[in-house]
């Protein structure tokens, strides 16, 4: 195992990795931009290095500065977290050149999977199903028209180098194709430096289900089952779970999708932790979407149901240790085997306002009480008094729960969300409470279009008048600072009054 590791990230994932390093007895080095000097990650790390101004381009994306920091502090390896440089093949190569271990897959695997068209070709060659469409970028409008016609509308245009919904256009009829192609290509060029676009059949209201894989440097590769990530806003996941409600009904799907994911990862020469994303249509056909060659934000749900610590395994694998966990359906006789127990759900607590188009809400956290108790896990990157910077992703913390069944996990998550107190900025905490109460969510009817229907079903909420009165009371008292006046003198007389009140309320 390494003696010292640098964490090339910020926020909750930096904290997550620093905790894992501490538990493994490895010294941790945090890097920080000007906005993050007082971050939780800097406080929790053993060492910390300043790497530049708040702008990510000048700090968390600055390969040279991060590699220099690792060398200056004597770190033997770098954990990239997710986002930033985590899927940057040049960074992985720069680490290698500097004699520092990159905790992740080989640079070649990152590069292949970084190109959507290359990844599609690899999946097809490996015999995994992909969404019908072109294998390479389309060259001309005429070619696009011919392909779209043969696939049948609606189709989807996607940036070859892309991700996160940029350079993506849904096209419902041929008349719209030319304009959409132009828009998608120019958007892709702006976002990724390449205007290459390809054409796919549009899968209507798909589920987004992904498979976690884990491979060592000695050729062992296993999958750790699925995560259902259909609930998304602006093509970004907000709530994830394992098992997928679909797998609960159709257990064989986990094995089939797991096998497909292993074929793809194996063809890419993959090792370390990675995720193969699929779309699943209404008939439970699944199609390879892309592979994320890094730790996923939502990895805790897999950890909770399998009992495996993915970050610890990332460290061990990068240090050359062999994977000792086996795939149970392949080698049920050799222990330990991957097992899935109970159900886990994760809610991504974002600094954003779900009542106003999820607009970001950076600023100072004036109040913070995190939930705990049985089955609750909080991976947080913030604290009371922290100023959430405007420059980065709005993820504050991930609230995850485990329970013996999906139904109990929903109840537990609801309880935990209610306990969570975050003040000073707006968050999506209560939005999740509403999702958990939604009929379609509870029955597991999920798709990436879930939120459209959800907002309609939810409508406006009627506030109980007594709760509203209590809120008004506290607002008024807090404003006037008169709270003390009504502190109770809990006497025997008053106690009788309470019992009386309790009794009379029972009679009503």
């Amino acid at each position: 195992m390494f003696g010292k590791v640098l964490v090339a990230n910020r926020g909750e994932i930096a904290v997550r990795v620093i905790r894992a390093l501490r538990e493994a007895g490895v010294r941790s080095v945090a890097v920080y931009s000007e906005a993050d000097r007082a971050s939780l990650a800097v406080q929790m790390a053993d060492e910390a290095v300043y790497i530049g101004p708040a702008s990510a381009a000048e700090s968390y994306l600055a390969i040279d500065k991060i590699v220099a920091a690792a060398r200056a502090h004597g770190a033997e390896a770098i954990h990239p977290g997710y986002g930033f440089l985590s899927e940057n093949a040049e960074f992985a190569e720069a680490c290698a050149a500097a004699g520092v271990t990159f905790i992740g897959p080989p640079a070649a695997a990152i590069r292949t999977m970084g190109s959507k068209t290359a990844a599609r070709q690899l999946a097809i060659a490996a015999g995994a199903p992909v969404v019908p469409g072109t294998e390479t970028a389309v060259e001309t409008f005429a070619e696009a028209k011919r392909i779209a016609a043969s696939l049948g509308y609606p189709v989807l245009l996607k940036a070859a180098a892309g991700g996160g919904g940029k350079g993506m256009r849904r096209v419902d009829r041929e008349a719209d194709l030319e304009a959409a192609l132009r828009d998608a290509s120019s958007e892709a060029a702006r976002a990724f430096g390449s205007g290459e676009v390809y054409v796919e059949k549009l899968v209507a209201e798909p589920r987004h289900i992904e498979i976690q894989v884990l491979g060592d440097r000695h050729g062992r590769l296993i999958h750790l089952g699925e995560r259902e990530c259909s609930i998304q806003r602006r093509h970004q996941k907000v709530l994830e779970e394992c098992p997928s409600p679909l797998m609960l009904e159709h257990p064989e799907l986990r094995e089939r999708m797991g096998a497909a994911a292993l074929k793809i990862a194996s063809a890419a020469g993959y090792c370390n932790a990675g995720t193969v994303e699929f779309l699943v249509d209404r008939e439970r056909n699944f199609y390879f979407l892309e592979m994320n060659t890094r730790l996923q934000v939502e990895h805790p749900v897999t950890e909770l149901v399998t009992g495996l610590d993915l970050v610890q395994w990332q460290l061990k694998i990068a240090a050359g240790e062999p994977l000792t966990v086996r795939q149970g359906d392949v080698r049920p006789d050799v222990r330990p085997v991957v097992q899935w127990n109970g159900a886990a759900i994760e809610c991504r607590i974002y600094a954003e306002d779900p009542d106003h188009q999820f607009l970001p809400s950076p600023g100072k956290i004036t109040r913070l009480r995190e939930p705990s108790g049985p089955g609750v896990r909080v991976d947080s990157g913030v604290y009371e008094g922290w100023n959430v910077p405007v420059e980065y992703d709005p993820l504050l913390a991930k609230l995850a729960v485990w329970a013996p069944s999906r139904e109990l996990a929903i109840a537990r998550m609801h309880r935990a969300l209610q306990e969570y107190e975050i003040g000073g900025i707006r968050t999506n905490r209560e939005f999740f409470a509403d999702i958990l109460e939604d009929r379609d969510f509870r029955s597991g009817r999920l798709s990436t279009a879930f939120l459209d229907g959800f907002f309609e079903r939810r409508g406006g909420r009627e506030m109980d008048i007594e709760m509203e009165a209590v809120a008004a009371l506290v607002a008024a008292m807090a404003a006037k600072d008169e709270a003390q006046r009504f502190a109770p003198a809990t006497t025997e007389a008053q106690k009788s009054a309470w019992l009386e009140a309790g009794r009379s309320s029972e009679l009503r």
Binding site: R234, A351, E352, D353, D355, H356, Q357, F358, L359, P360, S361, P362, G363, T366, R367, V390, E391, Y392, D393, P394, Q418, E419, Y420, E421, I422, G423, G424, E430, A433, G460, M463, I465, E466, M467, E468, A469, V470, A471, A472, L473, V474, A475, A476, M477, A478, A479, K480, E482, A483, Q484, R485, F486, A487, P488, T490, A497, W498, A501, G502, S505
Partner: protein, 171 residues
């Protein structure tokens, strides 16, 4: 004690209510009346439970109430945004708002101005994009609340803005 309360709903606009708090024999009594006439009268006790948190008991029912800034009051985890106002001020302000012929477009979130899409003196449609603000990797286009003319632009591309900052005035 009597006060006027304004509850800011999510998208549904604001509504008013009246709160009266009295003391009877050492016990607090609240009377809360919504503008539609719905009303409750309840005995209560209230205790500070750490900074910004109160425990309120209403006839045996327990409410955990937290107060954050900007009038955000959470009762058992459900947040209401409310203002407590002096009734006279409220009426004066309402009148002032009605009299104004011009409207100010304010930043919906803190961030950086990426692009200004209009110029001073330019005629705009209701709903036309005026300015783009970016925060946390997300761009937000501010739109004109009405048809009219751009009277003033109080910011420029590249400027940092706080939530609520007046950016553009339309007449």
């Amino acid at each position: 004690m009597t006060c006027e309360v304004v509850i800011h709903g999510s998208g549904t606009g604001s509504r008013a209510a009246t709160l009266v708090v009295e003391t009877q024999g050492g016990t607090g009594i609240l009377t809360y009346t919504r503008e539609n006439g719905e009303s409750v009268r309840r005995a209560f006790s209230m205790e500070l439970a750490g900074a910004g948190r109160f425990s309120v008991l209403v006839e045996g029912r327990s409410y955990r109430v937290t107060v954050a800034d900007r009038g955000a009051i959470a009762v058992n985890g459900r947040t209401l945004y409310m203002e407590v106002r002096d009734p006279r001020k409220l009426r004066a302000r309402g009148a002032a708002e009605r009299n104004a012929g011009r409207q100010t477009v304010a930043a919906a979130m803190p961030g950086q101005v990426i692009r200004v899409l209009v110029e001073v003196g330019q005629a705009v449609e209701a709903g036309q994009g005026l300015i783009v603000v970016e925060a946390m990797k997300m761009q937000n286009e501010m739109k004109s609340p009405k048809a009219g003319k751009v009277l003033e632009i109080r910011t420029a591309a590249g400027a940092a803005v706080a939530a609520g900052d007046a950016l553009i005035v339309i007449e």
